[in-house]
Symmetry: D5
Subunit: 146 residues, 10 copies
């Protein structure tokens, strides 16, 4: 789970500039999670988006090119060891089959797209302890028959 | 990924009775995903909840006991092969690190609880194809120092 | 890689009746590979399709119900050991990255859907040895930005 | 899944020259997927093919030698994590047994060669969304008895 | 690595009849290793071969059908634990790359077919200890370019 | 499956000198597969053999020492991905148990040594396509009782 | 299980200064195990804690920044090979289910938090051989129903 | 992670009798976690302890014999999927190296025994949420030199 | 790691008869570890040895046949979880390379046979705690050159 | 299974000095296998032992420090591929359960310590081929009850 060099560079500049992902969201007009995905080289930006990002971070223009390329995606370790990421893996270990049952009942045989897909994170303030809200929205894709 | 016998029995009765998970939601006063988790033996019901469920499905009272036990949880295969469940695994492979970065920035060092946690599924109607909305809400747990 | 009981039953009847997958294709009005997928419980039939299939095989009507259910999909062993199936795994080991490069160049960042997807097998007669032609067609799904 | 240095070099030159794989297809008289396989060091070129490729990319002649060598082939990770490549792995998880059944019925006991084998990618324009067509053609190899 | 029931049945009859694999070789006109492969359900016999085998073993005719089917092939455990079989795995761990180098030099880029393939075992008597001679012969398959 | 530096160096010199493994066989008086095993650091040469090899390749004498050392042996990846090497792995997946049965019948309980062992490769010319002949000869080692 | 450079640097300085973890405990006002976790980059310090640590070790102030970052956590190898760490893994292999049974009986369905969690090590002097006492204390988190 | 039949039988009787592990602790004069380990067949009882346990549960005397046997120990899955047990695995992933460092500093080169070892669970009442306290005590075993 | 039925039967009779492995050693004239290996179906007995063993245990003569067959050997789980067996695995993890270095220095390039091999267990009484002495003796097999 | 730099350095000096492990045994007054374990960084020396070793090898005094540190132990690959080391792994695959049975019968429920443990290698001259004798001696540790 080594972090690519370009990612390290961008994160360092972001820190130095004191910019949050939310700040970048306003500058690029894209969601902060998606922007983080571009920085971690899991998503590809358009030249215009890459330019806005690189300029916001005060970096050299030659980073633009790399951010528009189509990366080889994926985290690496089969079972993630980082506790934050593991919890999402565990959620699927525990609630995967129940989720499948409910989705099939509501939609029929098919899947939720992980490509035509958005992912948002919100903070829910709560006196008993703040909560993390993660909202996934993916197009339902019914299995084609042929 | 073999389905426990009690799960098969409950699902068969549910089908015969023509009850949806949403119907059970109204009867038990619990979310349909959580009820599906009880049926798949990934969550344990209170005696009262188990009674309501077993009666709604027209089954023998001796199923009540089993539904209140604390199950050994987990799906089994390290990498799930069912395409619907795999997509959620892939989402973490692709968006795991970006998500971690955004959560840490918003909340600090800690995790989203997978225990003090809820999971909802909604159908978003969309002329370009309906969308599946999955909403997770977990308490933020900051790492304790000692 | 154990074969489900219903699959064994259906294949035995198909053999006894002397029906080829191509014959079933004519009866159901669906492609033979998809019909084989229904028989191997990797795809779900409509009640009408299930009825046609069960009747063609001269089987009891109570198989119809099971063929319409949404199965837990997947072959099982991580690396398949059967030589015929392994060759397709090897093709991706060898040609996976070249294929990715060509698809990205032609279509941009996205994937080929394995859900909105068809798979056909044809026999190409050839004096130097017949050839197997496998044609996959999947909708291109561009990565959504948000 | 690290990309070999020579591959990076060739892809960079290809980009700089503004050449598509389809352009290289015309120059070398070989299919674009096969050319991509040579570039990713999964296939070996003849000296003449290597020369045409290296010259088209405006690179030094000392790359020719390396492109004619017989590489150690294979992608690396047992289960690919890149979503585009994973979909092809999933196709075999889901449709592997049905495909085996249909091929055996049409051809007898044997396999489709992954060596005497071609792989083409075509774009099917479709108003509901363009489709990727992947055509594989491999010689049928019957199991020898002895 | 559980042995299929039919295999156990055939081996038991073979033992009872006092027939060696070499005896079966004479009866079927096929090599003893191939016959053993049929018995272990790794190869499929013609109806005539199956009949000869079943009759030689004095078994019921209804075994004939099963021996002509195309089996799902493969041993099971990724790394074999039985010492006799492991040695062949070790041979490839140790001599795999040297073998590849010599074959490529003699034949070019391609592989030895494991389908158009024969395997013989001979006993070499030797005063210092008998030797097992294993002779593999597979068609060379050159990589196709396209 | 990274190639050791010394192996790369030796193979480069061998290529430059235009020497085949068969040529080295004549120079060293050892089989070409064994010589390839020395070059890939899977076998250790005597000082005299190492000297002959290093001189034939026109290399510096300080390589001699390294070639006489006892290497840590083994290929690396549990299931080889290179198609040529995989075929030998597949042969054991398919024919491992039949081979075990025939060897036990001919020799009793024991194994074929992979240490007191030779491996030869021959080219069988054949109008229907040349064949690769691989001949293994290993001492039979009966299990000791005590 | 490679040790990060910063960890090596800190441990070297700690050794040179002749400081024990217990000494650092007094300086930082934090438990020695937690401080070791910061040094091994499994926990993140506050700027003040990082400053105290870096100064105690006589290191350059630019290490402070890195120690406050949120690390990607986890040891690496699935089954640890170091005997000291393996024993704790074995304890869970052997006593995991009994522990689960006792915790569920005392607390109900839920888990022990590994986040709101402390870990202490004490030395119990004992004439028959000193004992290591490891005390874990984690908040009980009951499974939420929804 | 299937539960042995004898374990299921004992747990069912324990439930029917309304006995807690703490009750059994008083009857046997052994810690409740150790008794749970006997019930889960991870520890072996003396005939006297087995007799007390079987009688307390009102079961047939022929269970006594089995509880005194030395079991094959271990949980099974390499990475546990049950969230409660996983947390202890995660603790070692995160705090394993820091723990090793502190233990080595306090005791020298050696390990904590997992055999001469005790494990206790206590409930710490806490207004902010009860805490689970797990106390492990193992003999320090220094590495022998010879 | 399931125990074969015949093993369970033999062990039960051995217990009932009150015979130790050492008693069987006297009856068969073979070492107790080897006899245990026959009982666990990891070694094959001669008809005479099988007869002596079966008679000593007072069992039916039809067990004799099975004990003379050549078993599929191996324990099963890649990394053993039983603590007693794991320690031997750990010994190789820790002392494997040093052992290799010493053996190569004393004997040259080769291995210790695990076939022409004996294994004895002795009890060393010691006031500080009895010791288990395990003595392995295997023929040195030098690597053949050819 | 990469060899640490310090190990390579020590082994090179040992070779240059023409010292065998047996020579070092005399100089340090420790067994040769244990000394090899120090050199391979699987065991830690006292400052005095490290000094003797470093001086015997004619190396710089700054190696002394490193040899006294407590290493992260373990070989690496789950299943060793080097044939010499694999044979010991195989011995446990084949004789692990028989060994467990004999040890339990002689000693009761417990294990052989791999920490309070010695390992010796002896050469047994034998006209039929020399034998390697490996003697392990570990303290018996009975499972504690509590």
């Amino acid at each position: 789970m080594s972090i690519p060099e370009i990612t390290q560079k961008l994160l360092a500049s972001k820190k130095e500039k004191g910019l949050s992902f939310a700040d970048l969201e306003k500058i690029l007009g894209r969601d902060e999670v998606w922007i983080a995905a571009v920085i971690y080289r899991q998503a590809s930006a358009s030249p215009q988006e890459a330019k806005l990002l690189v300029e916001a971070l005060g970096l050299d223009a030659n980073y633009i090119e790399e951010l528009t390329q189509y990366p080889i995606k994926g985290l690496g370790p089969v079972v993630p060891t980082d506790p934050l990421i593991y919890r999402f893996y565990e959620i699927m270990q525990v609630y995967g089959m129940p989720l499948k049952a409910v989705i099939h009942e509501k939609f029929g045989d098919g899947i939720m797209s992980a490509i035509d897909f958005t992912l948002d994170v919100e903070k829910e303030e709560d006196p008993k302890g703040d909560r993390i809200k993660v909202i996934m929205s993916g197009k339902f894709l019914p299995y084609k028959k042929w």
